[in-house]
């Protein structure tokens, strides 16, 4: 990785400096930036709760938004084409996905003469990323790095404080990442507060930590064509692409919740039987 190309000593010096800084002031970074980020609004997602499941239509629309808008800057390199037709996901037909995969060029090789070559994608290939590496991405984006989005819905969150977090355990609220994504995507175009210094090349977005994000507002009304009558608005695009990214981050979410329910029923019955067995066994002993 990039650290290895640098001399070891400078890396260790850098790490040590960072560690000292971190160990002493664990929150300096956000505190120094332009004030705390706004708290995302809590949305009502179809996949939340014990019986949550994705809305296929929404995932398919979300994929369309990703492909037509986000894919020019962000990869989803952990997702394979075949995943798009598997249970619990957008569930496109095999024909649709074969066609889709063949529209991508995937590097393969080496061939007999030792050359790498490009060929059309197959079901088993993962999505090729728009940039070959982080440096290329930064070079194209004016120094900023558009992260891979495969896991972004689980890699972002916002703090809710101690008591609300305890409540989240009971209410199973865990869509913090999705709420954050949606908030950022629709959070552009707000009036810049008087005390915030405009940063060249950055865009004001109060939901992004620090308030200034390198990503230009990616969405606008009518940008992506929807054929199922869903309104073609920024808000809807954002919800759909967020749902899609929630699925890429946790492709087996539906299977997990479904299995969970069965396991719960089993455990409750088993516990009940054991309870009465225990009562019977102990009934002849004072304890």
């Amino acid at each position: 990785m990039s650290a290895k190309t640098r001399p070891m000593t400078s890396v260790s010096a850098l790490l040590k400096a960072a560690v000292i800084a971190v160990a002493t002031f664990a929150v300096t970074a956000p505190a120094l930036a332009a004030g705390p980020a706004h708290t995302p609004h809590r949305e009502d997602w179809s996949w939340s709760g014990p019986f949550g499941h994705f809305d296929r239509g929404q995932l398919q629309r979300g994929f369309k938004v990703y492909r037509e808008v986000c894919a020019s800057c962000h990869g989803i390199k952990l997702v394979a084409f075949r995943n798009l037709m598997e249970d619990g996901g957008p569930e496109f037909s095999e024909g649709q996905i074969r066609l889709l995969a063949s529209e991508y060029q995937v590097q393969d090789g080496p061939d007999e003469s030792g050359e790498m070559f490009d060929r059309p994608g197959r079901l088993s290939d993962r999505f090729p990323s728009p940039f070959p590496n982080e440096q290329a991405a930064r070079a194209a984006q004016g120094g900023a790095y558009p992260p891979d989005l495969s896991l972004i819905a689980k890699a972002r969150t916002y703090t809710r404080g101690f008591w609300l977090s305890l409540l989240d355990l009971v209410t199973q609220y865990q869509e913090h990442g999705a709420d954050y994504l949606h908030a950022v995507l629709v959070g552009y175009g707000q009036p810049v507060p008087a005390d915030a210094h405009a940063q060249p090349g950055l865009h004001y977005n109060p939901y992004f930590p620090g308030g200034w994000i390198a990503m230009p507002n990616p969405l606008s009304d009518g940008q992506v064509e929807y054929t199922d009558g869903t309104p073609a608005t920024v808000d809807q695009y954002s919800r759909d692409v967020t749902a899609f990214l929630a699925w890429t981050a946790e492709p087996h979410l539906e299977a997990r919740k479904q299995l969970g329910f069965v396991v719960f029923i089993f455990l409750f019955v088993f516990a009940g039987l054991l309870y009465f067995t225990k009562k019977k066994v102990w009934s002849n002993v004072a304890h």
């Binding site: 650290a3 087996h252 969970g260 002993v285």
Partner: protein, 416 residues
């Protein structure tokens, strides 16, 4: 405890085998005939729960290793490969990750159970010390396991913790370089952590064996803290304890399943879904929740070496607990003052955990220091003095008497 085994197999093959290796007799006297006090409550099922969780961790861990790649360039993606491509890989991985937390929840309950009922006292000192050894090994295992998925928290947690060793005077630098296998946390570090993470659980299993052995020599303590006097105080392990433990384990599994199936990332950290990057420091480096009290103690001392010493001392002091507690009475039930200090200690430990999760600034620093001071005060001053100051309540003559008093209409024997 019961001397010679009462196991007497009828089957000739078993008889033959038993004469050569009496392992079935050992199992029989340990888990079937073993006399267990009849007044144990559900806090006593946590030993069985812990054994179950160790089994869960070892089994899921071995399956994970079949698909995991311990290399800085591949570890993160190999864990995602488990989550996405391996059949039920998500289940195995979430079981292992949440199982570690459940293991610690169970061990904390188990430890505080022992502290409340005075289970560390004569004749159970060695049993207690073996328990603290298990706890230390678990902490090492959990810490190194968290490094394996090689996300941002894996890397930066490893950097912060291994850097603590550089506080050792004179040899600190050399020790850290030796631990890292280089000049930074990098591939050699990941590889050795992986190796040790695989090894330590089996060492834990070994120490658990000694722990149970010691237990079966001294016998179990019980909520009265009064030793077993006669066979009327006990019931055979099977079926009595077996069925009660089984019920406790299934209830614990229900609790586990809530996390596993519905909030599997609740106890984790979002940053660990970002691949490790040595050039980008996360805004907030927090260890896993089960280290937070110790992390708070570490940060309470303004000096790095002092902080490290305090953190280790917080665990080392537990080894001396059997001698720091000067009271002759075991159970807090009959120790009116100690009982109150017990709840204060529990609150202080929870408070330390809370402080450990907060940024070290403002009042958090002050409160963290006060709680740290109290933690040591409890063990080093309050406990030794309490044994002399406190006037314990009258003890029941035996477990049977306590049980009769509890079940009878009046409660004359306990007298309080």
């Amino acid at each position: 405890m019961s001397g010679h085994s009462t196991f007497d197999p009828k089957n000739p093959a078993l008889k033959w085998f038993e004469a050569r290796l009496p392992i079935l007799g050992l199992a029989h006297s340990s888990f079937v005939a073993y006399p267990t006090p009849k007044n144990l409550n559900y806090w006593w099922t946590f030993g069985a729960i812990l054994s179950m969780m160790l089994g869960v961790q070892i089994i899921t861990g071995i399956v994970l290793v079949m698909h995991y790649t311990p290399h800085v360039d591949m570890a993160f993606n190999s864990v995602e490969h488990i989550m996405r491509d391996v059949n039920y890989g998500w289940l195995i991985r979430y079981m292992h990750a949440n199982g570690a937390s459940m293991f610690f929840i169970a061990v904390y309950v188990h430890i505080f159970r022992g502290v409340y009922y005075g289970s560390y006292k004569d004749p159970r000192e060695v049993l207690w010390i073996l328990g603290v050894v298990i706890f230390l090994l678990m902490m090492a295992t959990g810490f190194m396991g968290y490094v394996l998925p090689w996300g941002q928290m894996s890397l930066w947690g490893a950097i912060v913790i291994t850097n603590l060793f550089s506080a050792i005077p004179f040899v600190g630098e050399a020790v850290t370089t030796w631990l890292w296998g280089g000049f930074a946390v990098d591939n050699p570090t990941l590889n050795r952590f992986f190796s040790l993470h695989y090894l330590l659980p089996f060492m834990i299993a070994g120490v658990v064996g000694l722990h149970v052995w010691a237990l079966h020599v001294s016998g179990q303590n019980n909520p009265t803290g009064v030793e077993v006097k006669s066979s009327s105080d006990t019931v055979p392990f099977t079926p009595y304890a077996t069925v009660k433990d089984a019920f406790g384990m299934v209830c614990f599994l229900i609790f586990f399943a809530w996390f596993l199936f519905y909030v599997p990332n609740y106890l984790g950290h979002a940053d660990n879904y970002i691949p490790a990057n040595p050039l980008s420091t996360p805004a907030h480096i927090v260890p896993e929740w089960y280290f937070l009290p110790f992390y708070a103690i570490l940060r309470a001392i303004p000096d790095k070496l002092g902080g490290v010493i305090a953190m280790f001392a917080a665990i080392v002091v537990l080894f001396f607990l059997p001698w720091l507690d000067t009271s002759k009475v075991r159970s807090a039930r009959y120790r009116p003052l100690y009982r109150q200090f017990f709840w204060v200690l529990l609150a202080v430990c929870l408070g330390l955990g809370y402080i450990g999760a907060m940024p070290p600034e403002g009042w958090y620093i002050v409160i963290g220091r006060l709680l740290t001071a109290y933690y040591f005060l409890h063990f080093l001053v309050i406990l030794p003095l309490l044994g002399f100051i406190e006037k314990p309540l009258p003890l029941p003559a035996s477990i049977t008497e306590a049980v009769l008093a509890k079940n009878g209409a009046a409660k004359p024997a306990v007298g309080a």
